[in-house]
Amino acid sequence: MTPAAPIVAAAVERRRGDPTYLLQILREVQEALDWIAPETAAAIASQLRIPHTQVQSALQFYSFLYDKPRGAYRLLFSDNITDQMLGSAALCEHLLNRLKLKRGEVSPDGLASVDLTSCTGMCDQGPAMLVNNRAVTRLTARRIDEISDLVRARVPLSEWPTDYFRVDDNIRRADALLGGSFEPGKALRAAIARGRQGMLDEMKRSNLRGRGGAGFATGVKWEGCRNAPGAEHFVVCNADEGEPGTFKDRVLLQTYAARVFEGMAIAGFVVGAVRGFVYLRGEYRFLLAPLEAKLEQMRRARLLGPGICGAPGFDFDIEIHLGAGAYVCGEESALIESLEGKPGRPRIRPPFPVTVGYLGKPTVVDNVETLCEATEVALRGGQAFASQGTKRSTGTKILSVSGDCERPGVYEYPFGVRISQVLKDCGARDVAAVQVSGPSGVCLTPDEFDRHIAFEDVPTAGAFMIFGGHRDLFEVARNFTHFFAHESCGFCTPCRVGTALVRDVMDKIAAGRGTRYEINELMRLYELLRRTSHCGLGQTAVNAVHDTWQKFRPAYERRLQWRDFSPTVDLEAALATARRVAGREDADAHLGAEA
């Protein structure tokens, strides 16, 4: 028996041997063992009675699961552009020097590894990192020194200064949702008083639209799910807030969790679901314990569980599933696949989750903020809710503001607010561009700052990254191409290969080897990915390159060579090995100045 066996057995036992919990089991086993060795994976497969391939599929898909040793301390720097702007690259170098490591490599004694990870959702308090999936904020050179000392002394994470792990809400502007008073249970009782149909009618009257960015009418979605035939219905809260630059759901889950959960219960009440899931991104692992505690508190107060608020037949409970580092799981059908313990590959849609969702049953998937807003609708009624915002975008929107401004943080505005107003409120001056809704969103320039945040003008899932006049928008776009190549699930050809090609072309331009030919390639790939990719990830993956080429052409042009073509293979550099082997450095061993 290997030392892993009892740990695997316990994890499988806790999940009653149910293979839909495979991802949760892998995660829990790894928390105990630091990585999933082949024999550990085999033990999981045999105890769950599933093929090895099923374990390997999940294990190799998620960034935070390791099938090779990654050290006792796994230090991952958030690689979002906002972290970079706050100096993360130099801090990463500093840590590598202190630990005498190369990036991606594990120290020979198995102590530590240092690498990059996609945005950890701490853009307003970066640079940030994850240490063994625990978020560390506000990194400085001094903090890096301390961390390297702690690592070298093998101090357990539980004994590190708690201030490292402090995560602030930074609520800078509160409106109806963030500023309203909230009395536990009140929204639930209001929904019960309205009745299942009455609550649905209010939802439709409110015209509340999904806050995850797509803007589908939530009431219509709930009605579709309620009407879909199925023995069981489910409610899923999409808390896989992975879009770089977004962090408002983290604030809602940290401070407004009761509202999120009540919103889920109200959704369950309307669609006839008794089970709900929160799919929490792995980067927010630190929220798991407080959220579990909140659920327990609500159960004790009969705000969850059987007979909620004493209403007969209103049974609803919630469990939390943790992701493991995969941006694509924010796509609702990929999220459902992941909830079922599988790799997060988006399904063919239609059918949509409202009819064929979790375990093939009707499922509502709503964003954290949307579910919070449902409590507002329950409390105030649809009409009152719709009185805020614009006609087609009712209510308020929470923005995650980061980048070049004095007051990064969370800002809630009625829909329709101008970009310029947000910039003024957060103290941004000399702004060259704002990237709204993250790398998959839109890059706006000053002549567009009078546009409005609204589904009918500038829709957004919440990210609002500000770039000052001194920033290089080419580097911003290049950062995004690396992000997408890393996060592509690999299912469809255009995205799997295309995101890697785009990344490599951008790197070639960055290296000063690009020409007009590369620009044409980028635009061709932009069209192909936009038109033929399987899901939104691939369809939007080249948006930022396209936008910045249109709007910040000099940032590209100053890197381009003024000729038709430059080969990707650098022949002169390719000959270096041959010269070294031959021991030659004379002029004839070089190609001479490149033509």
Binding site: P51, P343, I348, C489, G490, P494, R496, D504
Partner: protein, 240 residues
């Protein structure tokens, strides 16, 4: 008897369909060719290769994944879509290691045939040249991972027809790859058999039955004799 409403239009040509059919199925049954690679008539739609990308009423869609519906106006053979498909085939070529002259599937390979179909003269992109293995551990079959295009036909055949679930895709993005269901990861340690459906669905030369590679000489093989687009006419004849 087809009801009058059950008609879609493909490149201005009316095509009948049966309820529940995808656009691709309806087209192939009517003898109209829509390029495809991960589709197989015996399996559920998959939608990963994207070669069947078409334009339906002005919007892009995969013909294999979208149900036919009365009144759809579908564009298939346009210069733009043709160029998209050529690029997709080039992408499949550069992400793996495909050397047609040395491949025993040459002439029966759908990827190669599609290269010809789209007049692909070069791979166009820089090769990724991934470092991949050949698994010859099984007595009767081998897997050349260099040639896998991740269509998941073997995955589906083994799971849905053979009831063995021997294959799966693992990894992410460009690192996605086929894995085999045994603790060693070797095909020889599974219950795979050349009698399995999964041994005969690979559209390229990734899963090969041993000792029959050149039984049929190169030059007289399926796509040596007729282009892959002739398959649609074949489908229609079999239907009738």
């Amino acid at each position: 008897m087809t009801s009058v409403e059950a008609i879609i239009t493909i490149d201005e040509q009316p095509v009948p369909f049966k309820p529940g059919q995808s656009i691709l199925e309806a087209a192939l049954h009517a003898g109209v060719y829509i390029p495809h690679l991960c589709h197989h008539p015996e399996f559920a739609p998959h939608g990963s290769c994207k070669l069947c990308s078409v334009v339906v009423n002005g919007r892009s869609a995969s013909a294999c994944a979208m149900k036919a519906a009365a009144g759809q106006e579908i564009e298939v053979d346009t210069p733009e879509l043709h160029a998209f498909r050529r690029t997709l085939v080039q992408m499949l070529f550069v992400e793996g290691n495909h050397f047609c002259p040395g491949c025993e599937k040459s002439g029966n390979c759908q990827l190669q045939a599609l290269g010809y179909e789209f007049e692909m003269m070069t791979p166009h992109f820089v090769h990724f040249f991934p470092n991949l293995d050949v698994d010859a551990s099984h007595p009767d079959a081998l897997i050349d991972f260099n040639r896998c295009i991740q269509c998941e036909l073997c995955v589906r055949a083994s799971r849905d027809v053979d009831g063995k679930a021997i294959f799966a895709l693992a990894g992410r993005g460009l690192n996605s790859h086929l894995v085999v269901n045994s603790p060693s990861g070797k095909l020889g340690d599974t219950n795979f058999s050349v009698a399995d459906k999964a041994a005969h669905v690979c559209p390229v030369g990734a899963i090969l039955v041993k000792r029959v590679g050149f039984a049929e000489p190169i030059g007289t093989r399926r796509y040596d004799l007729e282009p892959i687009s002739a398959e649609a006419a074949q489908c229609a004849i079999e239907e009738a």
